[in-house]
């Protein structure tokens, strides 16, 4: 395959699309801040290194001029509303930049009473995709550098936002690597799958970056930090790590919005989103539930139907 063919088409229309989105975000942010419609805008600022961006909370129209959107804008900013920047919401309405996948998290947080719709102003981005973890960012967004989640994204176009920015460029069809990997694992025997995950989990050092970036891990006391009783070993040993990742996947089942931030930030490259994807698949199949960009009153594990499947119960 020649190098040109490998570059996906978003790369070729790169500059104008990203510039247009950036401009639209700046215009709106400046307007919102100068009209005092919001007290802050949670968005992205350029990073020092090439191809990086960092989350930022801007409070003045001048700062808002720095906001950007590029394929480096990987973060799901909604976590700042429940965790790091929870306090800001008390000061007034906050605007937040959200890609489709982030929006599902926002909707989930609304369903779980963590964020009120009226407290935020959502600027949705028609998103063509972002960089994957550890990818080469020098050549723009290419098939090689695009995040795995973006390859099979179904939420390029946000819904139910206060303002939608950007016009989606034509998107190429990419092979669904994650779905393939999921299928590959499903086809293994239980022993083989156990061996696979054992290797993955034994790399874990419990830096808890997965937990800390997850918009849904907003518990004040994580089960894994609790020691009376100790439900999970807190030491980073294979046994405790396995239990930790199983429990986390279970706690996210029916809540996860699929932003795959946990997987992106894992310094040990553990494919955590596979667990979340697998649970989402199961809940879709069993209860026809899917994470959505609009808030839902109850998740699949907080409601039931009398005729739910019970073929697994004797």
């Amino acid at each position: 395959m020649n190098a040109k063919a490998e570059k996906i088409r978003v790369a070729s229309i790169d500059p104008s699309y990203y510039q247009a989105v950036t401009d639209a975000i700046r215009t709106e942010a400046v307007k919102l801040l100068s009209e005092e419609a919001v007290v802050a805008v949670v968005g992205y600022l350029p990073g020092r290194r090439i191809g990086t961006a960092v989350p930022g909370l801007v409070t003045t129209p001048e700062q808002a001029q720095q906001l950007i959107f590029s394929p480096a804008c990987v973060n799901n900013l909604s976590l700042y509303l429940t965790k790091a920047k929870k306090g800001v919401l008390k000061k007034g309405k906050v605007a937040i930049i959200a890609k489709g996948c982030d929006l599902r998290a926002l909707a989930g947080l609304m369903g779980e009473s963590q964020v009120k719709k009226e407290d935020i102003y959502t600027i949705g981005i028609a998103c063509a995709g972002v960089f994957g973890a550890n990818s080469d960012r020098k050549g723009g967004l290419t098939e090689a550098s695009i995040a795995r989640k973006c390859r099979e994204c179904t939420v390029h176009q946000p819904e139910g936002v206060d303002l939608l920015v950007g016009t989606l460029p034509e998107l190429p069809q990419l092979t669904a690597l994650e779905a393939q990997e999921l299928a590959r694992l499903e086809a293994l025997t239980p022993e083989e799958r156990w061996a696979y995950w054992k290797e993955q989990f034994s790399k874990c050092i419990r830096c808890l970056a997965c937990r800390q970036v997850c918009p849904f891990c907003y518990c004040e006391q994580c089960l894994c930090d609790k020691n009376r009783p100790q439900a999970l070993e807190s030491s980073p040993r294979p046994a405790g790590n396995t239990a930790w990742h199983i429990v986390r996947a279970m706690h996210l089942a029916g809540r996860c919005g699929g932003c795959a931030e946990c997987e992106r930030v894992c310094p040990m490259d553990i494919p955590l989103n596979l667990l979340n994807r697998r649970m989402a698949m199961e809940l879709k199949e069993l209860y026809d539930y899917e994470a959505s960009m609009v808030p839902q009153e109850k998740g699949p594990l907080t409601r039931y139907q009398e005729d739910d499947d019970q073929s697994f119960i004797k």
């Binding site: 960092v54 989350p55 973060n75 976590l79």
Partner: protein
């Protein structure tokens, strides 16, 4: 004339050491990541990528048992770990930013209390460092006083040469002993041109000035703005070659269990949380301040060393892109301005 070793012989050296019941630890592929791991053979050794985790875990493991206890017949029996049986170890293939860290940490582990777990492992290990050729825009070792070819901390130092072999320079007696024991694998010859070092985008920092600024700015708006986006994970600390905070906890039950020591990090909200529920570092910016202060002021105050090797791992790994090199640069500028 220099002492040289070919890549083949370097791998043979690993094989020979392994056969001699020495634990050889070096960069090795594990799935998509490279980690310092015990090598089963020379062929495991991989030198083309900086390992994700630093080499500190050879001396200061992610998690280790420090004692076990069991209540029998109403009496609690405590069993300690026999450290005299720790194996002889060779750490091989560590770039200066990793090879240099254990010697920085020696100070703290042999200060008011001698951590025999750390020290015994240090005594029994030899570090074969290697000059770095793979830096990127996150690296800043030169800014903190190291260099891609710094030999500090290494017992034996290798420099990759164009053409595939390495120039060998014994730094300590341990290093010399290693050469002597396996003399057949080394040869004398004319050293060719070394492989070029990677450029580093961060310029030199004035560490004493920075420290001076830190001395006077325990309270400063800077901390707030830095920690603004920190999510409070431990990715930076856990992969850092110099961070060495740990926690001790008992697992099992009061009648039968193990006491374990494992990594802790100032990023966690439970860090320095008191039993009363009070936490002197109750918010993220105090915790992040501690990270900078500890590395560039407290450690220097106590031990005269900087607790950072500029490996850039924390910059690459930070989920939200916090860039310590940029922060240091900012402080540097503030310090220069006075």
């Amino acid at each position: 004339m220099s002492l040289l070793i070919t890549e083949t012989n370097l791998r043979s050296l690993v094989d020979a050491l392994v056969k001699g019941a020495t634990l050889v630890v070096g960069p090795k592929h594990s799935g998509s990541v490279v980690l310092y791991q015990p090598l089963a053979a020379g062929s495991d050794l991989t030198l083309d990528e900086l390992p994700r985790r630093s080499a500190k875990e050879l001396y200061f493991p992610v998690c280790e048992d420090i004692l076990t206890f069991k209540r029998e017949n109403g009496k609690l029996e405590v069993r300690d770990i026999d450290r005299s049986r720790f194996p002889e170890t060779v750490l091989i293939g560590a770039p200066p930013c990793d090879a240099g860290s254990p010697s920085i940490l020696d100070a703290v582990f042999s200060w008011d209390y001698n951590d025999e777990f750390f020290l015994e492992r240090r005594r029994k290990s030899t570090i074969v460092g290697i000059a770095c050729t793979k830096g990127d825009d996150a690296c800043f070792c030169t800014a903190v006083g190291l260099a891609p070819d710094a030999k500090a901390g290494s017992d034996l130092f290798l420099t990759p040469l164009l053409g595939g072999s390495f120039r060998c320079e014994p730094v300590t007696e341990k290093g010399q002993a290693l050469i002597d024991k396996h003399a057949g694998l080394f040869s004398e010859g004319a050293a060719g041109e070394p492989v070029a070092f990677a450029d580093q985008s961060t310029g030199k920092l004035d560490l004493p000035k920075i420290k001076e600024w830190l001395n006077g700015h325990f309270e400063d708006p800077l901390w707030e703005s830095i920690a603004d986006i920190c999510v409070g994970c431990a990715a930076c600390a856990f992969i850092c070659p110099a961070c060495h905070c740990f926690d001790i906890n008992d697992e099992g039950n009061p009648d039968n269990g193990t006491r374990r020591k494992h990594w802790d990090a100032c990023g966690f909200s439970k860090f320095t949380n008191h039993a009363s529920g009070h936490n002197p570092r109750d918010i993220q910016n105090k915790r992040y301040r501690n990270r900078i202060m500890h590395k560039f002021k407290y450690y220097d105050d106590k031990f005269g060393k900087t607790l950072c090797t500029g490996c850039g791992r924390c910059i690459r790994a930070c989920p939200v892109g916090i860039d310590i090199a940029e922060i240091l640069d900012t402080i540097n500028k503030k310090a220069q301005q006075g």
